[in-house]
Amino acid sequence: MKIDEPVTKETIECLGVLAGLPLPAPRRDKLVPMASALIAAANELNRKMAEGRRRGVSPITRFPER
């Protein structure tokens, strides 16, 4: 598997194993197109948020903050 390859059934199977989530073949098929789009978008957001100018940014996990 290469870093720029699209998400495949094998990728989904691997992620399912890591999560301890059994995913029969029809479920893996279903997840491939969705994961391809959403993980690519999340990776793009990762890239932006990892930029040096953002190193001082911490996550908000608790509201409220005024």
Binding site: R27, L38, A41, A42, E44, N46, V57, F63, P64, R66
Partner: protein, 471 residues
């Protein structure tokens, strides 16, 4: 009063009549129950109707008011609650087969507050399963439909709340909003709904979707009615760790202040971009009305705005998947197909995806805080499109291009959810097919009062909120 007169009463119109004993809570409740019986087969807005309980409470209310014990403007007002809000002794399904037999032994804090204020609970309304979706196409309790056109969706996840209020089956309802679930159905059903600042209203004993974004709030026909319900449920709750110890403002006093001098921000290359023509036209027309009332508009840049949909989908996927981890492994077949897929998808993300999405919220919030130095509120459409056909998974916004419904529906509502800001949706017109258009107004943290003030001024100058569906 005729049956039609009773159904068209707002809370603000009914309350003084109830107080003066010119209107009986029994008569009002009975009119609503008859209306539910007449339209619910078509709309599927209610999962559970508590007819006998509502009648019993209405009779007790009548005796109380006759004896001189009037509790305030919600006393004797029939309302509905979304079915993920706990109600003691009444099943609370969250729109899920998994919770089909769940009968809570205590109320949600918001339920308890509404009961203490004298509201009469008519029933529990339909929703997208576990609130994880925006269509209310529910595989277990039936597809909820839009009263303006039952072939169209009521949006979601609080679709039952939106349809129930618009169809005049109750005078107000509670919904919940994580990424838009109050504002989206408010928009497509032509009613008012507010997402509060996170921490303003208690989430205690509400089935969660995503802990860091969930909120509860009212959906009504007018802004004034929204204030009446909001005043009752807002405020600190020691039972909810996310609840804020911030004083609750006098929202009613805000309503009469008008909007002269109010500064309205439009987010550059975003607020009026990538929307259906009718939606853009209606929002531009509403902005003109607000300017005529004394507000002024200006464009504000917000460079990081375009990462919002990915951040929202990441957080809104991962947090529910954590909550549902056990059921997803032991009862996967009991979920509807769409929700099961989304929950499985939530387990495909890496921890870094989730954390970067939470860091993005800090960036977005900071840009809003900067923007609020120049303006008092921001405006966008609530949705870039009007109600789509029931069952649609794609939508056309412009250039005949089909887009995925889940991403398209979050285009504008996800932003205040991520930034933890309050946002009001109010009706601002109709498209050529007679389907309502909504406008979203985003405010500073804990400044719901300014949103109510703007909305009330707008409704004082327009009549969109007085239109009712022909059903």
């Amino acid at each position: 009063m005729t049956q039609v007169d009773l159904l068209n009463l707002t809370i603000a119109q009914a309350a003084p009549r109830l107080e003066r004993r010119e209107l009986s809570p029994v008569e009002l409740t009975e009119a609503m129950l008859q209306r539910i019986a007449a339209v619910n087969t078509q709309l599927n807005a209610y999962i559970t109707v508590c007819a006998q309980q509502a009648r019993d409470v209405a009779q007790a209310t009548e005796r109380m008011i006759r004896a001189g014990y009037y509790l305030g403007p919600l006393h004797g007002i029939p309302i509905a609650l979304k079915d993920n809000i706990y109600t003691r002794g009444i099943r609370t399904t969250a729109g899920a087969k998994i919770l089909a037999d769940f009968v809570p032994d205590e109320d949600a804090s918001v339920t308890a507050r509404l009961k203490r204020a004298g509201a009469i609970i008519l029933g529990k309304v339909n929703m997208h399963e576990f609130a994880w979706g925006g269509t209310t196409d529910n595989p277990h309790y039936g597809t909820c439909r839009n009263p303006w056109n039952p072939e169209r969706f009521p949006a979601g996840s609080s679709g039952g709340s939106g349809a129930a209020v618009a169809a005049r089956t109750c005078l107000g309802a509670l919904g919940t909003d994580t990424g838009g679930s109050i504002r989206l159905p408010s928009s497509v059903n032509g009613i008012v709904g507010i997402r509060p600042t996170i921490g303003r209203v208690s989430n205690y004993n509400v089935v969660p979707l995503a802990w860091t974004m969930d909120t509860v709030s009212p959906m009504t026909r007018t802004v004034e009615d929204c204030v009446t319900m909001f005043e009752v449920i807002a405020g600190w709750d020691p039972l909810d760790p996310h609840s804020a110890q911030v004083p609750v403002a006098d929202y009613r006093a805000e309503l009469g202040r008008g909007i002269r001098g109010l500064r309205i921000g439009l987010i550059r290359d975003y607020s009026l971009t990538h929307v259906q023509k009718a939606v853009g036209d209606a929002v531009r027309s509403a902005l003109k009305t607000l300017e005529d009332l004394g507000a002024r508009t200006e464009e504000i840049p917000m460079p990081s705005i375009h990462g919002n949909i990915s951040a929202q989908l990441t957080i809104e996927s991962c947090e529910p998947s954590a909550y549902h981890q056990e059921w997803l492994r032991t009862r996967p077949g009991d979920y509807g197909e769409d929700v099961r897929t989304l929950l499985e998808m939530g387990e495909m993300y890496l921890a870094t995806h989730y954390i970067q999405a939470q860091r993005y919220r800090s960036v977005l919030r900071r840009e809003f805080v900067e923007g609020f130095r120049q303006v008092d509120v921001f405006v966008t459409p609530t949705l870039p499109f009007t109600a789509t056909p029931c069952g649609a998974t794609e939508v056309v916004i412009e250039n005949n291009l089909k887009e995925d419904m889940l991403s398209a529906i979050m285009q504008f509502t996800g932003v205040p959810s991520l930034a933890g800001l309050p946002a009001l949706s109010l009706p601002v017109g109709f498209d050529p097919d007679g389907l309502p258009v909504g406008m979203q107004v985003i405010g500073r943290p804990f400044d719901e009062g300014t949103l109510f003030r703007l909305g009330h001024a707008y409704q004082g100058a327009t009549s969109w909120h007085t239109k009712s569906p022909r059903l």
